[in-house]
Symmetry: C2
Subunit: 207 residues, 2 copies
């Protein structure tokens, strides 16, 4: 353990971590600056040494989430290469994996009300992660028979929507929205059926 002296040593990151933990537990609005400070063993006023205020702290948490998200998506994308289909499926799976593994980040990113355009840096990093999904969709799109090829943006919007829906409804402990299926399976089969509808998977082949 780091020596606990008068100076914290890495308070900035400790506050972000505390915020993420709180956001994960109580939702984006259940989190308070004071509680995050307390959780880092520090006075609320100390937060202002490192952040402009409450919003700024959440934004940093979201930022870090987008960085991880972008890395995971890019890694998944390249892992599936050179097959456009494999790359796309791996990216889809990475989306859910991210939401499961980093629920605090996920909430900070997509449910905290933080605008993606808050700063240019935030916008950049967010665009990168979501861009991977769009790139994968675009590439896969080339393989779709032209007569049933939707615009790639629509394509990726569908997949994003289904992924997000599965996360929100079934991957979280929201009461009353339980499903007898694990979210991984739900997303996997859902995307599989969708891709079959696009003619990307033969009708008799399981993804």
């Amino acid at each position: 353990m780091p020596k606990r002296g008068y100076h914290h040593g890495n308070l900035r990151q400790a506050l972000v971590d505390a915020a993420l933990r709180l956001i994960e537990e109580k939702g984006p609005t259940g989190f308070t600056l004071s509680e995050a400070a307390k959780s880092a063993d520090v006075t609320p006023a100390a937060v202002y040494r490192h952040f402009e205020g409450r919003e700024d702290l959440i934004a940093e948490a979201a930022y870090q989430g987008y960085v991880i998200f972008g890395d995971l998506m890019e890694h998944a994308y390249s892992k599936g290469q050179p097959s456009a289909l494999a790359a796309f499926e791996t990216v889809g799976r990475a989306y859910l994996a991210f939401a499961r593994k980093f629920p605090g980040h996920y909430v900070a990113m997509f449910e905290s009300g933080i605008s993606i355009q808050r700063t240019p840096e935030l916008n950049d990093v967010a665009t990168r992660g979501l861009g991977v999904l769009e790139t994968a969709a675009e590439e896969l799109s080339q393989h779709i028979p032209p007569e049933k090829r939707p615009p790639p943006q629509m394509f990726s919007a569908h997949v994003w929507a289904m992924s997000h829906g599965v996360v929100e409804l079934f991957a979280r402990g929201s009461p009353g929205t339980k499903s007898p299926f694990p979210p991984e399976d739900l997303l996997e089969t859902g995307i599989g059926i969708y891709l079959r509808g696009l003619g990307l998977i033969p009708a008799d082949e399981e993804s």
Copy 2:
């Protein structure tokens, strides 16, 4: 206008309406009991004549939402009869229509953290609305070639997830998640492709 006397006349419903307006504008946690009371031209304490407290007021808003939701879903279902496919598609469209037309209710129902099991009445009415989706899925499921027939619950979970995802990401004004397509089209095409993947729509037919 109702005469503004000492007694309000219909304060209970006025409070629910105010709550719905606030929830729609500021999200489920942005809403406060005090503000709802002020918005109904009444002291915060007056709320306690009609509700047990803040939670109870939100729960009533959600309850009323589920009632409308159930009615709309049932109506859509019967309108699509006797074709299982038409019924299903109409129900799907009704889902989005509800979210668009009653955003306050939608948020109160699915994002406020109110448990569906809060009261038996709430549970009943919620189960009814969502049950229609499941029934429609089950029925349509009969027409799916057995070798690619998923369990009906999985089927309806997919559709629910995509619908919810479209609502959350594209039907609301969440900044940064704009799509060049109207949510109606997104959902319509998304479900269409999905159904084609199940072999429910011939490959060359547009829904």
